[in-house]
Symmetry: C2
Subunit: 269 residues, 2 copies
Amino acid sequence: MSSATKALTLLSHFSADCPEIGLSHMCRVAGRDKATTYRHLQALEATGFVEQNPLTKQYRLGPAVLHLAHLREVTVPRKDAALAAASTLAEATGETAHVSVLSGTTVYALCDCLSPRHGTRAVIDITTFPLHATASGLCAMAFGHDALMETALENLTGFTSATPQSKSDLQTLIASIRATGFACADQSYESEIQGIAAPLFDQTGRYAGAVAVACVASRFTRALEQTITSELIIAARAITRSWGGTIPTPIEAAWATLDTNPQELDTTS
Amino acid sequence: MSSATKALTLLSHFSADCPEIGLSHMCRVAGRDKATTYRHLQALEATGFVEQNPLTKQYRLGPAVLHLAHLREVTVPRKDAALAAASTLAEATGETAHVSVLSGTTVYALCDCLSPRHGTRAVIDITTFPLHATASGLCAMAFGHDALMETALENLTGFTSATPQSKSDLQTLIASIRATGFACADQSYESEIQGIAAPLFDQTGRYAGAVAVACVASRFTRALEQTITSELIIAARAITRSWGGTIPTPIEAAWATLDTNPQELDTTS
DNA sequence: ATGGCTTGGTTCATATATTGAACCTATGGT
DNA sequence: ACCATAGGTTCAATATATGAACCAAGCCAT
């Protein structure tokens, strides 16, 4: 590990719970020598990445990151990362991939990508996703803020016979989504379309959107489902990372149990 | 210069004009060896501070900065830095210091700090500053967006006999502010109050607000003016830096010519 | 095609910059 | 007065960074 990497790594120990860290404390959490840590903090301070609270002598993030973040936002729009991941996802699954973002209580379509593999394809022709009837909407309800449930209940339009129609229906679905880390919408918005979505998070740590696959229901098999879920995990991690966020540990844990299933099948074969 | 510092310094070469930089280009602008630069970029990439555009192989700012910037915003509110600088400014000048922020076309008071040195003090008892009559407002017009002039012309309230009353009055004042890097309001809002303001900038590079001194006019002398301007420069640099911005070069240049005046006096004495 | 130009990326001996135990000083609590 | 902990400093030992030279790939005009 290079010296520069070690210095940069110190920054990852700052968090919302622990926004100011003293030298000794930093030594402990970083597991490094005091002199080394001190010099690294000096280097970070010289470049504006940290600064010392003049009162407490504790270190905290510096102003340099503000400017860099602004530049990042300008140079790499969110849509680009989403589109790149959606493209890979569509390629790998042979189905339509799309990404949605949550703004207030509305789930907007950010981008989508159709796979040329099959003649029939799911087409995303809406700009806002109903909360209660789509995988992306349900994902937002499961991992977004609480106000979404109220909004959803105000508009329980029945699109198909499978569209959830009650609060208890939604609560059951949401519990399942939170347990598995995936939202599924089995022909609840359009018949013949099966949706599976995974959540995305931004730099604030909050739910930011979903990456989803809309699959022609007649093609949906157990094998395709496995491909979709494992590819969704990859896409969700990539987009979340690009947006400056991280997947919450409980969700990673839920995904990890899914990942091991194929391995179990391998050992029994 | 430590290795970590050298690596961090590479990040400063990214800008809005040049958001993606290739290895060779980075070597040239950083003036360092290719192997060294490459390894530094590798360290930055490993920590998420830069990433490679997969198409062009060029490096650009990475997602890590987004998260850090959010954390910085949460841990260090703008007001704190402003208040610290205002306090120093009030202490050094013996007059009332205050900081304003521009939001839309309105100039809001962010904080102020009175000096206990004199019995009479200027008191900032307004929450929004008139654009045409105060140093902070004129500063916004000189360095902020163009729409401010229209807004100012819609409300040319005459507070004192010295309040500017025409577009040409304002244009003359603004030209002077742009040339000197300071905005002055000589009893144009309240009689007996002389205001001097310096501009502040944020991480977007745009005008963000002003730091100002409100001085009791009867105490205003050439010597005090020199103290105020030199202290204002220090305060403006500190706040701007803390907000993630930089003072534009033309303004620094204007300030530099002022800085040399006292030196000229010294050499002749 | 060919040769020259540039690009991103890699190697390895050299020596420079990093390391960490021990030390210093100040402060707050008992 | 004492101990514990804090931030900060020193210096010999050595691990780590360095850069000239090198490689492979892409581009472009001949």
